[in-house]
């Protein structure tokens, strides 16, 4: 994948550099030299471009129009310090705009836009053996609260089965009274929804009083284990959560099965 980054300020480019090193991306930096940019786009055909909006020589939005005229499939991310809304963009530019990256850049956002430019479906890697953690683009997912993380862990343990509110409450808040636990459940649901939507990773279907996990873009060690794809089980499964004990016998049984077959 080829991208170009246009910014008149050197330190903005430097910040990009530190993030792009190590990724399988061919990149090129430009200051506000319009002719050089146009020439590059004509000859090198990049997939995407990160554009600053306010530069002394050129306006990023105008430049975007010209780039689209040269290469209609080019994807644009506006990397800017000021607030611009999609409404401020002309129609042709808006159609090619992937999003806005506000300075100082949020790394999760940057990786998300890079995968959008590459037209790559992102996968979430879920680690359940030992303690529970999730990763997107090799970066750990930071949940908004411990309980929303636990709720997501429970969804993973359910493996795509519908998780009702009552099920979730009885497992995550077993000792709390009903009214209070419902409030805490809604808080966890709301925070989980926020975390996933900020990551642009919508893998949970939030329905009324129940949740359903969409497994398609998830890679989970315990699921693979159950299907015989790996043998990483070491006797520990989501050990931070009390309800996970119920799953241990199943996994142990699978373990002994695989032992006997081998």
């Amino acid at each position: 994948m080829k991208i170009i980054i246009v910014d008149d300020e050197l330190h903005a480019l430097q910040l990009f550099l530190s993030d792009l090193i190590g990724l399988d991306i061919e990149y090129r930096f430009f200051k506000d030299d319009k002719n050089a940019i146009l020439k590059y786009v004509v000859y090198e055909n990049p997939d995407g471009v990160f554009l600053d909006v306010n530069m002394p020589g050129i306006n990023g939005i105008d430049l975007a129009s010209e780039l689209i005229a040269i290469k209609p499939s080019i994807k644009i991310v506006f990397a800017t310090g000021m607030n611009i809304s999609e409404n401020a963009l002309p129609n042709d530019v808006a159609a090619n705009t992937v999003g806005f990256l506000y300075k100082p850049y949020d790394k999760d956002k940057l990786y998300y836009y890079l995968s959008e430019i590459a037209n790559k479906t992102r996968k979430m890697t879920v680690k359940t053996f030992g303690s529970f953690d999730c990763f997107i683009d090799d970066r750990i997912v930071r949940f908004s609260s411990a309980k929303s993380k636990e709720l997501f862990a429970l969804l993973i343990a359910y493996r795509g089965k519908t998780l009702t509110m009552n099920d979730a409450i009885s497992q995550i808040w077993p000792d709390t009274d009903v009214d209070k636990s419902k409030i805490l459940y809604r808080d966890a649901v709301w925070r989980l929804r926020k975390t996933l939507s900020e990551l642009h990773f919508d893998c949970v279907d939030f329905r009324r009083a129940c949740l359903v996990l969409n497994k398609s873009n998830l890679i989970c060690d315990s699921w693979d284990y159950a299907e015989g794809k790996n043998k990483n089980y070491n006797g520990e499964f989501m050990k931070n959560y009390d309800w996970s004990i119920a799953y241990l016998p199943i996994l142990d049984k699978l373990n002994s099965n695989t032992d006997t077959t081998t």
Partner: protein
Amino acid sequence: MALVVGVISVAILSSTNTSSTVYFSGFLIYFSIIALFLFTLIIIVDCYAMFAIKTSTYHSLLMALCIMVCCLLSEDYLSLLDLSSAYGTVSNIVQYGVYTLFLAIVVIFFDFSYKLGMSKKRKLSYFAVCVLSFVLFAALYRVKLHILAYCLGLAMTVELSYYTSHNPNVHCFNSHSFRPTQFITFALSGLILTNTIYSSGFVENYPFGTTSFYLFTSTLVYAFIYFSFIRKATKRDLANAQYRAKYEQVKSGMLQAQIKPHFVFNVLLSIKNLYHSDTELGDEAIDLFSKHLRAQVEAAGADMVPFEKELDTIRVFTDLENIRQDKELNLIFDIEYSDFQIPALSLQTFIENAIKYSRINEKEDGYIRISSRCENGEILLEISDNGVGFDPSEIRDTSYGIRNSVERFRLLTGVTPEIISSPGNGTSIMIRFNKSSSEKHHENNNS
């Protein structure tokens, strides 16, 4: 007073002349005086509005001017200029002048209709009506059926006035550019009517000539239009202007309250500390802080924001607070319904105050909870905590922020948040409003 003068003049006239035509003339004078009185009243009211709203129009003043100019064109004044010998010619000149003017009106009218934000269909139909009415007008003038021409002009004036006052997107005062057209149509058609009636011999013995008769008809009709449409629009705009002024004041208060130097510097210090221990956490804190600043800047440009966005702002703010505090704040988002708008940064103020004064972090199970639900089309929004509570009657002296938030809620949504608290029993802020009212209220005030 107008009544008294009218009655006296009628009495004088009827005592000097017994003819019924003259009695009718006296009747006219009586009404002209009432009409003039009304007209003066309207001008005074409009002048007040003009000074109260800086972008005001000169509606009634312009109207008066147009009527006066048309009076000068009436046959009384023409004869005063001693052109009686060439009377026929002058009459023709006036007639052709009217034609030309009317044509100009059609063109100007079409042009101005663009500024009214009408749909294309409506504009075209207006243009068609204009052209048609011009043809009709010319034809009617030919066959001396001036009264119909007058009615046509009148109908158009009424239609426009109606459109202005019943369309919230068209501001009486902001789109007054179309008004001269309206005035000229109105005043001229009045003139033609007057000349027609006068020359028809119906009020032949009317001693004050066409001018006063013209004044009578014009002002009476204008008064009708004014009180049925324009007054309404004026009132609306006046209320909006007062609202706007008040709101701007409250909003600037909010912005001032939002700039909290000590908060900014404290956050910067904690970020600096974080970088010494963990650069990853430092990066995160920087992201949070820039999100927070962005939200504050955005709030300066927006009146109402989506509830979800305000919740994000609060989450960022509390995450920042958590960086600085030893104990994590227990903030519970009990959100069942979030598809509505609230004034920007209004909830943040309540949360800030809860953090500052409720002392929930000193409690084992202290919490702040934001609940929102929708019951029978009514949105219930509640911010509650189980902290130390306070006496709501003391808000006036202590918290500018809360008062400001409450005021903005009141101005933007029409509802007043209810603060329920007493020492030792926690605090709860209840806001109830109709699902539709928040949006509607907002739109009206934005247009």
